[in-house]
Symmetry: C2
Subunit: 108 residues, 2 copies
């Protein structure tokens, strides 16, 4: 099992609704509510290994969604661009901010 | 059948890779390449009605993906916000542009 990762939480934000109910519920408990495998196992009345396997399968599916759709990567790129434009405005460089924003809009 | 819509093309951009190969290929021919149902029917060696049904099923699935994920709506909101910020910079209103961009980044 990977450590609880910001990356997986982000994928879950985007694609969680495409998982089965059980997978989504388990992942939300683990990544959002930060419950342990043992705690989830108890509340779901399954083995700790069962929870572990469910999360691994879910992570694999989330990775596959991102490989197919690439929307998290696109959002991250846009976020980077928006932050850069904001920084440029704060520095008083309106021309460069304008160029950065125009690029962001083009990429959308 | 709805008329060939910009909306469906947009959904296809986002979620097309989640469709079956056949659905995606048919939709791309119809919405991107602007082929007629009859032309697609001939190239796929199926009936015109078969093409029609495939496209309707694909449209339904694309709508369901958007209902679950809402990423097209999110992108449209961001695009609107980025355009608004760009407009404000062009008008020389750096403060409002900054506020608009900060809002955009918060929503990401």
């Amino acid at each position: 099992m990977k450590e609880k990762s910001v990356r997986t939480s982000l994928l879950l934000d985007f694609y969680g609704s495409l998982l089965t109910d059980k997978m989504r519920r388990t992942c939300e408990s683990y990544f959002y509510e930060d419950l342990s495998l043992a705690e989830i196992a108890e509340s779901e009345s399954i083995s700790r290994q069962g929870v572990h396997d469910t999360i691994r399968r879910a992570e694999k599916q989330l990775d596959e969604f991102e490989n197919k759709l690439g929307l998290v990567a696109l959002f991250e790129k846009q976020q980077h661009s928006a932050k850069r434009a904001l920084e440029l405005i704060k520095q008083g460089d309106a021309d460069k901010a304008e160029a950065e924003l125009a690029k962001l809009i083009d990429n959308m």
